[in-house]
């Protein structure tokens, strides 16, 4: 079973800010079809994420959505949305690290909010 991950940070305009694909070792390149599917799924998952966010007690929602055998996890820190595919629980730590990193990045005065990282 191929364990590939796709990590996308979306800005608050729902636009992708950062995109990265983690492929299983040994697989040099993902096929293009797969790649765009990841994007499609992630994009689609934004709606349920937004819904979750509007719930009164929204937390860092993991496993927000499942789609076409992909699991989508999302991490919603205050103000930002970071949807993602998930396979493992270690993803929480991954998210927290990412969030830290992103915040550091966003603190950079030269960074324009919502522009691609």
């Amino acid at each position: 079973m191929c364990e590939s991950f796709c990590f996308i940070i979306a800005g608050h305009l729902d636009n992708p800010v950062f995109e990265m694909e983690f492929l299983p070792p040994g697989k040099a390149e993902s096929n293009v079809d797969h790649h765009h599917l990841n994007w499609l799924i992630t994009h689609t998952a934004l709606s349920p994420i937004a819904e979750n966010m509007r719930l009164p007690n929204h937390t860092d929602g993991y496993a927000v959505d499942q789609f076409k055998n992909w699991f989508v996890s999302a991490f919603v820190p205050a103000g930002h949305v970071l949807p993602d595919r998930r396979q493992e629980d270690g993803i929480k730590h991954f998210f927290i690290d990412d969030c830290d990193l992103y915040i550091k990045f966003a603190m950079n005065p030269h960074y324009e909010p919502n522009s691609p990282v």
Binding site: L13, N15, L46, A50, E51, N69, P113
Partner: protein, 1259 residues
């Protein structure tokens, strides 16, 4: 307690089991009590306190009362809980001791023994008392005795195990009381039994679970055990607890599967890896699917069986708990995880089988939920079920594709075989749904039966899903389903239906800037548009795709080729232009003009370089690239003058166009900005900071769903402008990446040209950039030829050669060979002609074009400068040396008459106060070849020197001193200072007392020249002198032209000494020195030094008998108040006009201070008789009226008595009637005529002795 949420009881199956309570003893008695008992028992809830810290619960107890049999008691090791008797009750009505002893006691003992044998401790003995019976047998023992006996015999220390129930069938308060006590007891006992037995069971179960790492452990066995517990909870209607049991099992199993995936496989799991043979979906309409349960029990269940069974149980419990939406949510999770688990366990599944399973399951869950909810509930909870709909749609779609139901031809034989196989895996329809028309089974079967049926079902599902997604606001999901639908339509060859979905999806992706989905959708759209024959749209999409970096090189080439082949097909026909936006074809990166300031003169050549980044993957030959230019004549002409333009427009001239704002969502950029605030939360007690953070106050605005309605990708709509001015470039091949294209144009009309549109045409396909932004303009101007003459240095100095720069700006005039500038010479200014005058021709941009020799020809009147031939809009620059002849203003001497000014000089000399140089303006009139009018240029030269003269006397010897002051910044060398008298010739001799060698005169310094005046005969009354001195700049070595000497003309008048005045102060007689306060005598002797001269002939002269005398007035003045003149200080004397005639005057003066005191001044005046004194009383008005001619020239210079006198003589006739008092008039003698021989002498005055204060004046 039936689940109240179930409006259709047949669907919800309640657990029919109840905890078993056995009844022994009097069966008839029990039968009579049973109705009341079974009715009363659940009426009141009891609190059930739980072990392991679980929360206590209120519970309504029910029981299944069965007759006691020994078989009912569980054997050792039996784990069944459902059939476990929780309480054993012995019923007796016995009130007779005898009877008790005879039968009841034995029976009880036997019963107790059996219980003990099975170590069952949960029992109760009920003694029913009946008043009726008591009445019959009055002799019997008090009733308590039987109860006591029983308590004694059986309930040692547990007397509460025996309960009395009085008159159970009567309706009295006593009966009621007794019932209540009994029921409470019964409930308590039951609960105690539950707690104890369940606790024990749970312990056993946990022990079993801990053994799961042991080799022989089987999940199915454990499953059965824990499910038993779940059953009991369900039986007690503790659905939550029951659900927990299943969830635990679920989690345990999932963990095993995950571990298996990680390589940690358990033996028992191998069984679940058996190939899937049946995929008949979830079955949720029965509370317990015994069929599957048995499979599990027999350890024959597949993974799907286990999951199905587990989920059906969870579903049942969730529905009991009135949580149907959780069912939907869990179902979706289950379906996804099952698919994953099958993959993880590498279970072999026939293609399509899982799709069938998922499809059936989705529909089953949905129908199950629909079965227990009403329409309104379902509609308001679409958000929970839409996922299932979506999943079902997707699976049906993949089944359709798999089985060839989507193709135009329909399924082939292979597809048909597959369909048959798939249907076989479904098995027969379940009996419980056999009568339902819309059962999932029937739907699937029908959908797979034919192409048409599939289409109908798929479209139904898709549309329903899209509608639901849209209704809950999940537009993105709706788009995704729509995209699938579009794909389906494309397969079905109905692109017109597909287009709308693709456009919708594309719009959405574009709005949010998701690049890959955009690419993918465009690819689909391109195909769709191709089929639809929307040429323009197709070409646009193709160009977008060809420039899309997310596609592979081959794909991009393909789309590029599509455009090119279309273009080549259409060239021959006179088809319409197809206008597409440029940005998908190429990107205009920058533009720059040559000349870089984008200003060009009429007729000049302007080139525009653009960098066009081709986005195409292959080189594209473009037939023409054109820039449409809009021409406008600037109203404000000032701003468009050549000078303004060349100065004000930016220099580098590179205009960079912003890169295309790639997929940033433009439509949403108008969102409000984040409003962030700091937040501090302090603890109320000590005000210390608890938490701090940032709050976004307008979250509701920012997170609001944005439905962008504006289409972002309008197909063309670009208007081609048809301008008269077009910059063109033909036949350009655009390589991928940046290309440099140069347009050249010759400027025609002056004005402003704005670049508007950029078009690139490939055959009939026109790629148009409708607006160039930022604004790009160039200006064309026309300029009149101009001549500028300006000095090279700050100021021009007269007398030495000075360089003057001539600048001819040709403007629109072309200077031909033979054109020349004609300078009409000013007389006092020379244009020096050198052989090697050079002119430099510059282009308009200050680039040196050429350097040519300049021919300058000079004649008396005109200097002609032949201009080199120069094209229009060039500049000719050359320098000429000019020389202004030096001259000093002519001033009169101290006592002289004003000399005549030189009338031929055109220049005006102006003296200013202080050390400013005198300036001379020379006006030069220049005739230019381009104009019939002369240009008049004024050059101002400054005279570097200021010269003053003075007459010095020593007795009768006379000296003339000339002071030359250098006012300029330059140092000069003075040589050959000369002074000549050109009044009367030889009888006057000027003897120079100066050094012969050249003298340096530094900046701001003065040099003095002195001559002694010697004469042989009677000297003339006035001298006209001319001072001349050669000068040259000290810094320059050899000068090209001989310089004219600097001249200074002046007049000296009345220079001959007539009188010698000598004053002497003598101390009082007998003293050696003068003392302050004591009178001294002042002796003044005035001596006439010459005979009668011309100058003496005036009104003061009187003649008596050939004897001439003149009247003089003397005056002794002491301005420094050193002396007090006692008595008359002035007097008139009649001086004989004869040599050595002397007049002595004696006066008394008193020194006021001690020290060396200068002598008081003695002044001598001519004493003029009163009848000639009119002019001195002339009033100011007539002065001014009558002086109009000479006023401006001499008034300020000559305020001395001579001019007064000359004017006075002019006016004497006319002003005769102006008479003042007949007063005599004084006229000061010119300084040259009086020599004061005692000037500068001092006399020692010593302080008087009796003065206490010593005052010493030192002068």
């Amino acid at each position: 307690m039936d689940a109240p949420e179930a409006p259709q009881p047949p669907v919800i199956y309640t657990m029919e089991n109840k905890p078993i309570v056995t009844c022994a003893g009097d069966q008839n008695l029990f039968t009579s009590v049973y109705p009341t008992l079974s009715q009363q028992l659940p009426r009141e809830p009891m609190e059930w306190r739980r072990s392991y810290g679980r929360a206590p619960k209120m519970i309504h107890l029910e029981s299944n009362f069965v007759q006691f049999k020994e078989e009912l008691l569980p054997k050792e090791g039996n784990k069944a809980l459902l059939t476990f008797p929780f309480l054993h009750i012995y019923w007796t009505e016995c009130c007779d001791t005898e009877v008790y002893k005879a039968t009841v006691k034995d029976d009880l003992t036997k019963w107790q023994n059996i219980l003990k044998a099975h170590s069952s401790v949960d029992w109760l003995i009920v003694v029913v008392e009946n008043d009726a019976k008591k009445k019959n047998k009055t002799n019997i023992l008090p009733r308590t005795s039987i109860v006591d006996k029983i308590r004694n015999d059986f309930c040692n220390k547990q007397s509460d195990r025996c309960v009395v129930l009085s008159d159970p069938l009567k309706d009295s308060s006593r009966t009621q009381e007794s019932w209540n006590a009994f029921l409470t007891k019964l409930r308590t006992s039951l609960l105690m039994s539950f707690t104890k037995n369940l606790g024990k069971f749970e312990d056993d179960m946990r022990t079993l679970r801990e053994k799961r790492t042991e080799p022989g452990w089987s999940f199915c066995d454990y499953f059965m055990v824990q499910e038993e517990l779940a059953f009991v909870f369900e039986m007690l209607q503790q659905f939550e607890d029951a659900l927990v049991q299943y969830d635990e099992l679920d989690a345990l199993f999932s963990q095993y599967v995950v571990n298996f995936g990680a390589g940690d496989g358990a033996n028992w799991l191998a069984f679940f890896c058996e190939p899937v043979r049946s995929w008949n979906g979830l079955i949720l309409r029965k509370p317990i699917d015994m069929e599957k349960r048995e499979l599990i029990q027999r350890q024959e269940a597949t993974l799907l069986d286990l999951r199905s069974y587990l989920f059906s149980r969870q579903c049942t419990l969730l529905l009991f708990l009135q949580r149907p939406w959780e069912v939907a949510q869990r179902a979706l999770e289950l379906l996804h995880s099952c698919v994953q688990e099958l993959k993880l366990l590498e279970v072999s599944v026939p293609p399509g089988a899982l799709d069938c399973w998922v499809f059936l399951s989705c529909l089953e869950v949905l129908q199950r939920i629909e079965g227990c909810c009403d329409r309104a509930q379902i509609d308001s909870n679409v958000a929970h079920t839409v996922g299932l709909w979506s999943y079902a749609t997707e699976k049906l779609k993949s089944l359709g594709y798999l089985c060839g139901l989507v193709s135009e031809e329909g399924p082939n034989s292979e597809d048909l075989n597959r369909i048959v196989d798939l249907l076989a895996g479904l098995g027969a329809e379940r009996p419980e749904t056999a009568n339902t028309a819309q059962s999932p089974y029937k739907k699937l079967k029908e959908a797979l039966s034919s192409v048409e049926a599939f289409e109908k079902h798929y479209l139904d599902l898709s549309h329903a899903t899209i509608e639901m997604h849209t209704s809950v606001g999940r537009t993105r999901s709706a788009r995704l389903v729509g995209k699938d639908l579009a794909e389906f339509y494309m397969r079905k060859k109905s692109p017109q239906k597909a287009e709308i979905y693709l456009q919708g999806a594309l719009k959405n992706y574009l709005a949010e800037g998701w690049a890959l989905p955009i690419t993918h959708t465009r690819k689909q759209l391109a195909e769709c548009q191709k089929h639809l024959g929307q040429t323009e749209n197709y070409l646009q999409t193709s160009s977008l795709l060809a420039s899309d970096h997310h596609l592979t090189e081959e794909e991009r080439k393909y789309f590029c080729q599509e455009i090119l082949s279309f273009a080549s097909r259409q060239t021959d026909s006179t088809g319409q232009k197809i206008v597409l936006p440029l940005h998908c074809f190429a990107h205009l990166r920058d533009l720059h003009f040559t000349p870089s300031n984008a200003v060009v003169h009429v007729g000049g050549v302007l080139s525009v370089d653009i960098t066009l980044c081709s986005q195409m993957p292959i080189p594209v030959r473009v037939e023409q690239i054109a820039i449409n230019v809009h021409f406008s004549i600037e109203k404000n002409n000032y701003r468009k003058t050549a000078e303004w333009l060349t100065k004000h427009k930016m220099a580098n001239g590179v205009i960079t166009f912003p890169a295309e704002t790639s997929p940033l969502p433009a439509a949403q950029n108008n969102l409000p900005a984040l409003e962030l605030y700091e937040m501090f939360e302090r603890s109320p007690s000590d005000n210390s900071l608890n938490t701090t953070g940032i709050i976004c106050k307008n979250v509701h605005m920012l997170l609001r769903r944005q439905e962008s309605s504006t289409s972002l990708e309008t197909p063309s709509g670009v208007a081609l402008e048809d301008g008269a001015h077009v910059l063109k470039c033909s036949d350009v091949t655009l390589e991928p990446g940046p290309n440099r294209i140069t347009f050249r144009t010759q400027a025609k009309e002056p004005g402003t040209y704005t670049l508007r549109q950029l078009c690139a045409s490939v055959g009939p396909v026109w790629f148009v950039l409708p607006h160039l932004y930022p604004l790009v303009q160039y200006d064309v101007y026309s300029q009149e030829p101009q001549l500028h003459v300006e000095p090279l240095a700050d100021g021009l100095l007269a007398g030495i050669p000075q360089k003057v720069k001539f600048t001819v700006t040709t403007g629109h005039y072309t200077v031909k060979n033979g054109d020349s500038l004609q300078l009409s010479n000013a007389e006092a200014m020379l244009v020096l002609c050198h052989a090697e005058n050079r002119a430099v021709i510059y282009s308009n941009t200050r680039e040196k074009a050429s350097d040519v020799l300049l021919r300058v020809q000079s004649s008396d009147k005109v200097t002609s400068i032949s201009l080199p031939a120069a094209p229009a809009y060039h500049m000719i620059e050359f320098e000429l040396e000019v020389l202004s002849l030096p001259s000093a203003p002519v001033t009169g001497g101290e006592s002289s008459m004003l000399g005549t000014t030189e009338p031929h000089r055109k220049h005006k000399d102006t003296h200013r106060a202080g050390h400013c140089m005198a300036t001379t303006d020379h006006k030069v009139s220049i005739d230019c070849p381009w104009s019939i009018y002369s240009t008049v240029i004024a050059l101002t030269f400054s005279v570097p020197f200021r010269t003053t003269h003075s007459l010095l006397s020593a007795g009768t010897r006379k000296y003339i001193q000339v002071c030359v002051q250098n006012l300029s910044e330059l140092d000069f060398q003075l040589s050959d200072g000369d002074l000549v008298d050109h009044g009367c010739g030889a009888d006057l001799q000027l003897v120079p007392l100066n050094a012969k060698c050249p003298q340096a005169i530094h900046s701001k310094q003065s040099v003095f020249f002195v001559w002694e005046l010697l004469w042989a005969r009677e000297p003339p009354p006035s001298l006209r002198c001319r001072f001349s001195v050669g000068f040259s700049p000290a810094s320059e070595g050899q000068l090209s032209v001989p310089l004219k000497p600097y001249t200074y003309e002046f007049q000296v008048e009345n220079f001959f000494t007539l009188y010698n005045v000598k004053a002497e102060i003598l101390p009082p007689s007998g003293t050696e020195h003068c003392r302050t306060g004591s009178l001294c005598s002042l002796e003044v002797s005035i001596t006439r030094l010459s005979e009668l001269l011309e100058v003496d002939k005036d009104e003061a002269l009187t003649e008596t008998d050939e004897y001439f005398s003149t009247k003089l007035m003397y005056e002794v003045v002491d301005n420094s108040s050193n002396w007090a003149v006692c008595g008359k200080s002035s007097g008139v004397i009649s001086m004989p006009v004869a040599a050595q005639a002397t007049h002595r005057v004696h006066m008394e003066v008193m020194p006021l201070f001690a020290g060396y005191l200068p002598l008081p001044d003695v002044r001598l005046f001519k004493y003029l008789p009163h009848h000639s004194a009119h002019s001195s009383q002339l009033d100011a008005d007539s002065w001014i009226e009558s002086d109009s001619l000479s006023l401006d020239k001499h008034l300020d210079d000559q305020p001395d008595s001579s001019s007064v006198r000359s004017r006075g003589s002019m006016h004497s006739a006319s002003s005769g009637e102006h008479k003042g008092l007949p007063m005599p008039r004084l006229q000061a003698l010119p300084p040259g005529q009086v020599f004061n021989s005692s000037t500068g002498t001092q006399i020692l005055v010593i302080p008087s002795k009796d003065d206490h204060v010593l005052e010493v004046s030192v002068t």
